[in-house]
């Protein structure tokens, strides 16, 4: 797997995309996902993909994080392109006929469209994760109407993911020093060998639950109905302009897709 740091891929950098309101970024990423399922023109998808890659690079991401995240998606899309001709053999101009494996031009266009669609969606969410830190993400959710106790749960979760990963690594090493082998054997055997690692990890999780609930009580959680914040997020004119333009572009794409625009 990729490096441990991949769980938190936020890039601390003062790029323009970082200062955009998190709500706008979340809504845009969700909108992009929906629109992508409707787009079917490879040219449009390629243009969209290139635009998103430019945006990604503009966030100041390091080459290592960018490369590993692109590679993760690329792996899947390459596999999809390779397997596709086995199951989709319709269409006329046949590229090469190997009995069961018969890639045709229309089928490969379809495969390419699906691959591009996957790539575009992944890039959109990657930009959101690169430019929004956890606390802003949670503030965005709460501002969008998510109750704040769920917000607290979510920020606890985001905070504890790296903790647990470190705990797992530590327990694994401790058990390995007692003779446990987790990286040899077949899949089932390796999975079974994880049990001695998981039991202490879960026990640590329960201890964390006890400690956290006491900490929440001692900090007067739930004493007041409304909550105030030290660092709040607010919409600026710039954010509203971005939202309007994103919605406009998305609706133009959709309208063109359904043939509501007199393009031809």
């Amino acid at each position: 797997m990729a490096a441990l740091a991949f769980v938190d891929i936020f890039v601390p950098n003062p790029s323009p995309l970082h200062s955009v309101d998190p709500r706008i970024k979340m809504i845009s990423a969700a909108l992009l996902t929906v629109v992508c399922f409707f787009l079917s023109d490879p040219i449009v998808l390629i243009a969209l993909l290139l635009f998103l890659q430019v945006l990604t690079i503009s966030t100041g991401v390091t080459l290592k994080v960018y490369g590993s995240s692109v590679w993760l998606v690329l792996r899947f899309t390459i596999l999809l392109l390779l397997i596709w001709p086995i199951f989709d053999r319709a269409g006329d101009p046949v590229i090469i006929d190997l009995w069961l494996y018969k890639p045709t031009v229309p089928a490969m266009t379809r495969a390419l469209t699906v691959a591009l669609r996957i790539f575009v969606i992944a890039s959109g969410w990657l930009i959101l994760m690169l430019t929004t830190n956890h606390s802003k993400l949670v503030r965005g959710f709460v501002k969008l109407g998510c109750p704040y106790d769920f917000g607290i749960s979510l920020s606890i979760a985001l905070r504890y993911i790296p903790n647990f990963l470190a705990t797992f690594a530590q327990i694994k090493e401790a058990q390995a020093s007692r003779g446990l082998e987790t990286s040899r054997g077949n899949l089932v055997g390796r999975a079974r060998n994880m049990v001695p690692v998981l039991v202490p990890a879960f026990a640590i999780a329960f201890r964390a639950i006890d400690g956290l609930s006491e900490a929440l009580v001692s900090r007067a959680y739930g004493a007041k109905e409304t909550r105030t914040y030290y660092r709040d997020i607010g919409m600026r004119y710039w954010d509203v302009a971005i939202l309007v333009s994103v919605v406009a572009v998305a609706s133009i794409f959709m309208a063109a897709q359904f043939g509501w625009l007199p393009l031809r």
């Binding site: 409707f38 086995i86 199951f87 699906v114 647990f164 999780a205």
Partner: protein
């Protein structure tokens, strides 16, 4: 509108910690070279929560925890993950409650993970088959079968993952019940 009561501090901690646990377990695992996927242990935590805590926690923590990781690794699977893991947690948790006094716990747990796991596998299969290649309204030539290839390629690995994780979760639950008897206080 009547105001919703805030969750108790213990509930907040349970949701937070178990979501993190599901996410961390989803993240560790080994890659399967044959498909895009990697064998992960996220299901262990989901089944465990369903067995020991309750169906609501299993559904919420499972869906959000797994989606948090998917969002950064394979974003196009997020909708499927949200649906698959939440129905998995819900179903296995409900089965545990339904069979609570009717049969031995271990038997009920095996039934629960088999039912929940097969729902999860089916959701991913249908998503890869029907939704990912979905080409809505534009091109009638693209029939629905076009995504069957990758979906079929991944099916056995998903089944294996659900079965393995379910078995681990049953073993784990027994171990934890012995090692940490206070866990019964976390149930509602």
């Amino acid at each position: 509108m009547a105001k919703r009561k805030l969750m108790s501090p213990k509930k907040v901690a349970i949701y937070g910690i178990f979501t993190a646990l599901v996410a961390a377990l989803t993240f560790i695992g080994f890659p399967i070279t044959a498909t895009r996927g990697y064998f992960n242990f996220g299901e262990v935590a989901i089944f465990f929560i369903a067995f020991m805590i309750g169906w609501k926690e299993a559904a919420v923590c499972g869906a959000i925890g797994a989606a948090l990781i998917d969002m950064q690794i394979v974003a196009f699977f997020v909708p499927a993950t949200l649906v698959a893991k939440s129905i998995e947690g819900w179903l296995s948790g409900s089965i545990i409650i339904a069979f609570k006094d009717k049969m031995k716990q271990t038997k009920a747990r095996i039934i629960a993970f088999a039912a929940g796991g097969s729902l999860m596998v089916a959701t991913y299969f249908l998503y890869e088959w029907l939704v990912l290649p979905l080409n809505l309204f534009n091109d009638p030539g693209i029939s629905f079968y076009s995504g069957l290839g990758p979906a079929l390629a991944e099916l056995p690995f998903n089944i294996l993952q659900a079965a393995c994780c379910g078995a681990i979760a049953v073993m784990l639950t027994k171990g934890i019940e012995r090692a940490y008897p206070r866990i019964s206080s976390l149930r509602d």
